[in-house]
């Protein structure tokens, strides 16, 4: 059991993790947006398996943090919301992955 426990320096690292990205649903959203140039709401709904309300709430949090850019447009009179990971969001995800790797491997 002792071997599996997170060591003290790593415990401290856990507290420094970005809480916005650390939440599983938001991590899923951010990773999906990192994999593509831009995507719309339906794409994220299908790929993440979240409900509409849940996805909207997480997108609002990410937008408020400046991690995603939202562009609303009309395609043949149908509204479409295009979402893109911002430079800040991309950097935050990169840093999160780096921190997690350190925590897991040390």
């Amino acid at each position: 059991m002792r071997d599996k426990a997170v060591s003290l320096p790593n415990q401290a690292r856990l507290y420094t993790l970005d809480r916005i990205i650390h939440e599983p649903a938001r991590l899923l959203i951010v990773t999906h947006l990192a994999a593509v140039e831009s995507a719309d709401f339906v794409f994220l709904l299908r790929q993440t398996g979240l409900t509409k309300g849940n996805l909207s709430a997480h997108l609002r949090t990410l937008e408020a943090a400046g991690y995603i850019e939202v562009k609303k447009e009309f395609v043949e009179r149908i509204p479409r919301t295009l979402l893109r990971l911002s430079a800040t969001g991309r950097e935050a995800l990169k840093e999160y992955r780096r921190q997690m790797k350190q925590i897991i491997h040390q």
């Binding site: 999906h32 593509v36 709401f41 339906v42 939202v70």
Partner: protein, 205 residues
């Protein structure tokens, strides 16, 4: 690291979902089938229209009307030039291997008239092998496994057609029919798996 989703895997998965609608297979298959039929009846003026315009217009239109409302719109990151270089290198190696080891030894020692005919046929083979190589490279790099099947089918049909003196229009129509059937099956499966979402799907944030 299993707990952190990998963007590369997600990209491949999303790419595969987009191409699981069978539209491309269906349109290309029907185009090849139409080409074979039109060629058989010597209706050449229609062929340029069928080959050049129909696939480009219909794939775009069908994706917009059927695929996007069901799986959402996504703009993929453009293929990096290194990937294209890899694809072209694979195609080139395949071409050199086939030409170098199979076809070129046949030319040596032949009379000049036969040589000319062989060189002419080698040019046709080169284009075919390049296309086959590109198909294999795209299948490998994008994990679109059914493209391997098409590549194999083209290779078998072209070789059998050449050896058994079967007209080009027959085996092109056959390849087209197979691709169209695969496309229709995939299309029906896609419609069942991804029903159109109802109501306003836009993010109201």
């Amino acid at each position: 690291m299993e707990s952190i989703p990998n963007p590369k895997i997600i990209e491949k998965r999303a790419y595969n979902v987009y191409h699981s609608d069978g539209i491309f297979d269906m349109v290309i298959g029907l185009t090849l089938l139409a080409y074979g039929i039109l060629n058989f009846f010597d209706m050449h003026p229609w062929m340029s229209f069928v080959i050049a315009f129909l696939p480009a217009v219909s794939v775009r239109w069908l994706k917009k009307k059927i695929t996007y409302p069901r799986v959402g719109f996504v703009k993929f990151v453009e293929w990096k030039s290194t990937r294209w270089t890899t694809a072209l290198i694979i195609a080139g190696i395949l071409m050199v291997m086939v030409l170098g080891f199979v076809l070129l030894p046949k030319i040596i020692g032949e009379p000049s008239q036969v040589k000319f005919r062989l060189v002419e046929s080698i040019a046709i083979y080169s284009v075919g092998i390049m296309l086959l190589g590109l198909l294999l490279a795209v299948a490998y790099l994008q994990h679109l496994t059914r493209l391997y099947g098409y590549a194999l089918l083209i290779a078998v049909c072209a070789t059998a057609g050449h050896l058994m003196h079967i007209g080009l229009e027959y085996y092109i129509a056959f390849i087209g029919a197979v691709a169209a059937v695969v496309g229709i099956v995939l299309f029906i499966r896609f419609l069942k798996r991804y029903p159109r979402l109802e109501g306003d799907e836009s993010y109201a944030g």
